[in-house]
Amino acid sequence: MLPEPFHHIIFVMKTRWLAIILLFCMLIAQSSCAGHASPSAEKSTHLGTIENKGSDTIVNLALAWAEEYQTIHPEVHLSVTGGGSGTGIAALINGTVDIANASRQIKEEERESALANGTEPVEFIIARDAIAVIVHLDNPVDYLTLEQISDIYSGKISNWLEVGGEDRPIVRLSRETNSGTHVYFLEKVIRLGEKENTTLFSRDTLLLPSSEGISAEIRQNPNAIGYDGLGYVTEEMKVIGVATAPGGDYIFPSQATVNSGEYPIARDLYMYTNGQPEGMIADYLAWILSPDAQSIVTELGFVPIKQ
């Protein structure tokens, strides 16, 4: 009686594999459409390759820069990959990349292990990113103080009534713990930037694996509160005005308020090189800081650095 059923398992498995293979084909087709980082045919004209790896927040920006730079300087080949800030810095320490992207500053331990390995990380601030606190369009709450946001996420406040809203439970949304944005939000907002503060995210905070997961839930759930990079905010959600202290001015995130330092939840985005960059890496970084490259920053929803 037993062997026969297995025919069908094999059949089921076959169709599943087919689906997976199809999906892979689609992915490959898509990435080759995007056309970046593909090893080009006219290799002879190439001066060399710049390896660039790190933060997933920055990866789209880095790709856009690389694409633009390669049309101006076809002799330089840029290869850009994501993987996370930590991954990028680890690769820089191991000497496998020329530039590491990071959405946070390099940690002391990382700097030490780099020096021990004979690498000297040099920091460049390449753009800024505002993190917007977002809610459903129908939520009557418009403004929150940093402390209220901290209390909401740490679990002290669990009803919108307590912050001037309707009588609804609060559903807290966050990115997964491996995201640089998650760690930044923990340190800067939930712990209010205090070093000894050990408050954690409330246990029942939903940890969603993607920005799309957060926006899908915010769009349809009036109980939800979430946070994400300004570049991911769309018309279908409401951005909350944030005040640093009760009674202070409520500021909405924008290029102007981030650069003037008024909006409190904004961070710098970094690139790290091994020692002072020379040659084509120095040229590339100089170009990134130029107005041309910084205009791409605006297009992608990030905030350009002050000139």
């Binding site: 059923p5 089921v12 713990t177 491996n178 940890l207 759930n221």
Partner: protein, 302 residues
Amino acid sequence: MKVQARKQPFLKEFTITTLIKIAGYSAILFVVMIFLFLLLEGLPALRQVALDSLLSDRWYPVEDHFGILPLLGGSLLITLGATLIAVPFGIGTAVFLSEIAPRWLREILKPLVEVLGGLPSVVLGFLGMLVLSPYLRVLLDLPTGLSALAGAVLLGGIAIPTVVSVAEDALDAVPKSYRDASLAMGATEWQTIWRVTLPAASSGVLTAIMLGVGRAIGETMTVMMVTGNAPVLPRGLRDFLSPARTMTATIAAEMGEVANGSTHYHVLFLIGILLFLISLVVNVIASAVVFRQKKRQDRILS
């Protein structure tokens, strides 16, 4: 000449049997190697993290909180829910296909069920995220629809084709004479199905359920997208309506960015060992029950 003619088939036979043997043993070899690899990467976690920390109810690896109970609880809760959905629907469908449906309907339905089994789980996850969970939130007036229930419903859906496929084959393999004898003795069709056909096929049906459970507990993408992934230790059946985090989703979400060789990395492998052991236990129980019933059946039939 004669000798060669006899030698040729022997050589052929020998190569083929050896190849088949190698293929058979390689499966065992792979399982053993995978398990050794898991042990090698996962056991250091037991040395680096105190046991009472591992058994705490807080999972927050960024700050070195490595309590795996919420994850284990989440996985078990969602798998239980999925089983409660997949077993009645799966076996009901299998009974309908094999015992009640006319031949033409069966020829259409069975391939359809199998196509359902081939749906990529990401697609189901998307449906769950955009359709099922908003619907559940409004229907049950929940704070959020991203909950263990949403995960259980989708996993049940994923497990159903497996259960149907295997259970239907088992029912099909029951000799027609059993049914004829039962009907001839005046039993109704329902009595025949419930008292004769299903018990006769019980070992196959049990295999079907176990394969379904195995499919549910190992599923990753769908649960990661619809359960909300909040590591809360479930304390009762009411927690079906709140978010949960499974072991599989934790490994998938965190493995990508964990530093190679760190404590967090080893703990993730420890969770992998746990998953491996759970599916091993499920399989061992299934085969033990099947084996015992076979013996009983043999006694009755002989």
